[in-house]
Symmetry: none
Subunit: 202 residues, 4 copies
């Protein structure tokens, strides 16, 4: 009743059980991997986590939110899309694109669907998903491209941001459309051509 001594909130009552929270997110992640988003049920998560259903709804407003958080907090294993660093930046990008295409095709259809489902109920989730996945990747690619500019492999007048966007568009489209395999190579040809055109033209 009296003012809290702690700087933040007084915090009476039993504190949140961190083990329950972890168990819920793990269960959500593993069910997502096993069954796909639509077939995951809150009751299933509760059962696997050994938790009451209310403990889920106490902390998350909906199924989408739980699964979204499981993804955001790395309970879902996301293949690391590390960018190789050889001498040839175009080889590196092709390797990265191919890995991404496969990775997204396998598990990340679900991740993408989840972020769609989640975002339709909770606008902030899309931002968090973007911050988690898209932005680090952008930074990674941007750094590699900048090196290539420094090394004189790419003309410095081209907007690197734009190239990064195109690369992300390609990997996303290749995963979704399951089109024939040369999407990646072909796209890279165009991008490279543009980048070197500037180079030569400059």
């Amino acid at each position: 009743m009296s003012a809290a001594t702690a700087p933040g909130v007084p915090k009476r009552g039993r504190p949140r059980d961190e083990r329950a929270r972890t168990a819920i997110l793990s269960a959500a992640a593993s069910l997502l991997a096993d069954r796909g988003y639509e077939r995951v049920t809150v009751e299933g998560i509760a059962a696997v986590a050994g938790v009451g259903k209310q403990t889920i709804y106490r902390w998350w407003p909906s199924k989408a939110a739980v699964i979204g958080e499981a993804i955001l907090e790395d309970f879902v294993v996301v293949p690391d899309l590390l960018l190789p660093r050889t001498l040839d930046v175009w080889d590196d990008l092709e390797t990265w694109l191919r890995r991404g295409e496969d990775g997204f095709r396998g598990y990340s259809g679900d991740v993408i669907r989840v972020s769609a489902a989640v975002s339709s109920e909770d606008a902030s989730m899309l931002a968090r998903m973007t911050a988690k996945f898209a932005e680090p990747t952008r930074a990674l690619l941007l750094a590699r491209l900048r090196e290539a500019v420094d090394a004189g492999q790419i003309n410095d007048t081209i907007k690197l941001d734009t190239i990064v966007t195109l690369l992300q568009a390609v990997v996303s489209y290749a995963s979704l459309s399951r089109a024939n395999d040369n999407v990646v190579t072909d796209a890279l040809t165009v991008i490279r051509s543009a980048a070197e055109n500037h180079l030569r033209a400059g």
Copy 2:
């Protein structure tokens, strides 16, 4: 669907009521437009169509299948992505990309989600969706680009297929990511640069 009526088979019994089929697909389409995929209900479709629920389940195995067919058979109004034809092919493409970005953002999130939902139950549906939407668009773009090549605006050594793929990737990505508005313009800059590089280089 569309079981071919082999001329040899006598076909006994009451024939399928084409009015019911049409009413169902119309209802599905209109509910999809009104409420979005998740909120469409088979019972709702039946009620709007003035049809028994069983009549739906007699012909389609699931909600996804009905809605998928409604889309494939043009009951869902899809904004026509006509390609303008001015003198400048790059202007034309930018116009097309911007329209597509808006159009897909508006209604086609649903169409994409439907094809995802449907495809997870019925592998052939994805192919049909692709055949219906992606391929005609490809043909359209290809034709326009070919004209531009003939007009000497694009180098004839570049693979036009590749450019078309990139354009489709860009419009899809722009819709999904809701990124800032210059994605389209920037991407087009890169593509154009590549196309004209070949021109100049050749």
Copy 3:
């Protein structure tokens, strides 16, 4: 039903809502009275009771079981077959038989159909129905007959059980067959004759 709450068992989870149970059985009883067994619907019971359908299926395996329980737990108003007590036991019995004939014709066709329906799925229900309806009535009749024996109106060598059985057979048959009205009177004549024969013969 009526799972005895063993004192040792902790009882976890939300307890069964007695108001829901009561509402369901009341609704079942009132619908049975209004519409007859065949026309009662589980969905109707749920709606009238203001209850989810699953709450019914959680506790009873079938429509027959719910309605059976409603009857057994006195939610269905059963006309009291009180036995009048005048000086003349035969007058009393005739009154009782006539009332029973009418009463059973009115509501108890349903009760009998329910017990048939229920018994074909749940053997114990028939026994419970019998215990509830037939046995108290037997006791009532037996007591009255015993008094008549004490009063010297019936020979004490006759088996009163047998007479009671015959009376029940007559009332059941009269209700079911809807035969002409003197069944009851005629039957009573025979029974009386037997009872007094013993009297006189003894």
Copy 4:
């Protein structure tokens, strides 16, 4: 096409197919025996009979009517309740009662339920059922009792009709209630006592 030559009704069109009618009633009877009334379906009857469902509904108004007719027309095998004829009428009656009790218990629960179900939709059916089953039996019993009167075994002042009614009541009640086995014997004792009372008293 041309006018009928027969003296009765002209009868245009294809005449009713007697084989179909027979097949339907046989199928109904056999399904009734196999599955019990509730579990017989019109579609099942049609399938077993090799007949269109409409052919059933053309000639009968409901499931109950078809099955009722199957019973009435002896497609359902009803064990013959022949009355034995020894010197002792009471022995004969006891034998008859016991057979009836068993027979009704075995298959005739269904027949009784059918007649109830049928009668609730089609009042005339009850009369026909009665005419088919109850009346011949009445006649049979009556004849046997009359002989006993003639032979001086039963007093001629008792109303034989009444005794027959009682016997039928007993057999019906014994089958329905599945009571202990001496119902029949006990009841017979009373009836006999009454019959001989008259005899002696007279």
